[in-house]
């Protein structure tokens, strides 16, 4: 799968000379995450589809904001990755935090969380949807989660990088994620797109 993504990526890179910024009208790659048609809300309460994120390299993690154990580490990793992306590239990148607890993580709540954690610049995107769509996205990412109490979830820890066409470029699992590695992947993806 990874090789396939790389292949697709390099093909895209080759084709990219013709059309530097993929337009929404273009046919989506068959393996693009933008093929999901679910509706999402961002931290500003705007309704959108994943496809509205197209055109930028995406760094995606699924968390819930009231998590006390793993998620704070993941959030810190995301901030670290963000800090390692060159400032000239930053407007070509979105760092996306998707809530697995849409009941609690309302847009207002997400906005508050973003502010508290210093993640309120425009490269930061917080999303929530309903349970079904969240589940579907988790399945695309092969991310496992389960609600184990009214306030707690078990979940796996995965940071994924997508190219601007929504094709998965790489995934890192676990809490010892190598942030330099992810940042490099992001830099390469930005360059290649």
């Amino acid at each position: 799968m990874k090789y396939f993504s790389v292949l697709v990526l390099s093909i895209l890179a080759l084709c990219a000379c013709k059309s530097p910024a993929p337009k929404q009208q273009e046919a989506l790659p068959s393996n693009s995450v933008f093929n999901l048609t679910s509706q999402w809300q961002n931290q500003d309460g705007d309704t959108l589809q994943l496809q509205d994120l197209n055109g930028k390299t995406l760094v995606v993690v699924m968390i819930y904001t009231s998590c006390k154990s793993a998620c704070p580490i993941l959030v810190a990793k995301m901030k670290k990755i963000e800090s390692k992306i060159s400032r000239k590239d930053i407007d070509k990148v979105s760092l996306v935090l998707v809530s697995i607890d849409p009941e609690t993580d309302t847009p207002e709540h997400l906005k508050e969380f973003a502010k508290t954690n210093g993640m309120d610049e425009k490269q930061w995107v917080f999303l929530r949807s309903n349970e079904e769509a969240t589940h579907e996205l988790a399945n695309v990412l092969a991310m496992k989660y389960k609600k184990i109490s009214p306030i707690d979830f078990s979940h796996s820890n995965i940071i994924s990088v997508f190219n601007p066409s929504g094709v998965l470029v790489s995934q890192e699992e676990g809490l010892e994620i190598n942030v330099d590695g992810v940042a490099n992947t992001v830099a390469k993806t930005v360059k290649g797109s």
């Binding site: 309704t47 399945n139 389960k146 078990s154 676990g174």
Partner: protein, 276 residues
């Protein structure tokens, strides 16, 4: 599980925090407008639900399964053919690779043609979770949750819960060990207590939340709490270690990804019950 969590959440909200705003869930329902409705004649069985102890979970973690309806048998080749006939985007040549690996409907010689030697009434296999879910939506149903499926799987032909009967797990394992069962037609074996057929003797089945099992695929590690991989790892260990049949099902589920298509993996559909 969806229902169960909802019940727990509601209970929790009403009991503990009445001041919590109620309309927090996401307002826009996702519509499956791209799917054409397909008719199906499969009988659905009413399952009244009840308390049950999941195979994985904390020792005391009883789960209440709400009443629901379950297809009496797995979805067949013929039914899936009807589905892809009505829904071209789910045909073998059209399916998006996001939604399936390369072996989708592996033995089908063409988009609308069953394998020459296939029984139309045998369960459909080589379908991904995405495809199974799309099928369920097209017939106005959903996939059963893991807890719903396992609740029904506790029954033998005469009782609701046969788990503690000697030989219950062994008999299922004997079934599991037979190869190529998936080519047999549905409903030839004895139904269980609820009147549900083919829970064990033909195929593995997708559940909606198959990916909610938070153990690593290395079960020897998963038995122990590992905060490095998962939050709240205490919820991940097996309660009934000698129930090898259930262990095998969980082993399979932890191996799957939603785009996988497998020779002996199919599905059946479920529905919320309107009866109370």
């Amino acid at each position: 599980m969806k229902k169960v969590s909802a019940v727990i959440v509601l209970g929790f909200l009403s009991l503990v925090c009445c001041n919590k705003p109620q309309e927090k869930s996401f307002p826009v329902a996702n519509e499956h407008h791209e799917l054409k409705k397909v008719n199906t004649s499969v009988k659905m069985v009413y399952i009244p639900g009840g308390a049950y102890k999941p195979f994985y979970g904390a020792d005391s973690a009883w789960v209440t399964v709400a009443p629901f309806l379950l297809d009496e048998r797995p979805v067949t080749n013929k039914e899936f053919l009807d589905f892809v006939t009505a829904n071209p985007s789910w045909r073998k040549s059209k399916i998006k690779s996001l939604f399936s690996d390369s072996t989708y409907l592996h033995d089908w010689p063409a988009d609308l043609e069953l394998p020459p030697n296939a029984n139309p009434n045998a369960p459909v296999c080589y379908v991904s979770w995405f495809a199974a879910k799309a099928f369920a939506n097209s017939v106005g149903k959903r996939l059963p949750t893991l807890d719903e499926w396992e609740f029904v799987a506790m029954a033998d032909s005469v009782s609701i819960n046969a788990r503690s009967k000697p030989g219950y797990s062994d008999y299922i394992i004997s079934l599991y060990l037979q190869k190529n069962r998936q080519f047999n037609p549905v409903k030839l074996s004895t139904p269980n207590y609820w009147g549900v057929y083919n829970m064990f003797d033909l195929i593995w089945e997708w559940t909606d939340d198959f990916n909610s099992i938070l153990t690593t695929s290395d079960s020897r590690v998963g038995e122990y709490d590992d905060k490095g991989l998962f939050c709240a790892g205490s919820a991940t260990s097996a309660t009934d270690i000698l129930n090898y049949a259930a262990f095998m099902r969980f082993a399979l589920r932890t191996t799957l990804r939603a785009n996988y298509t497998v020779a002996n993996l199919g599905f059946r559909c479920a529905k919320d019950s309107i009866m109370k």
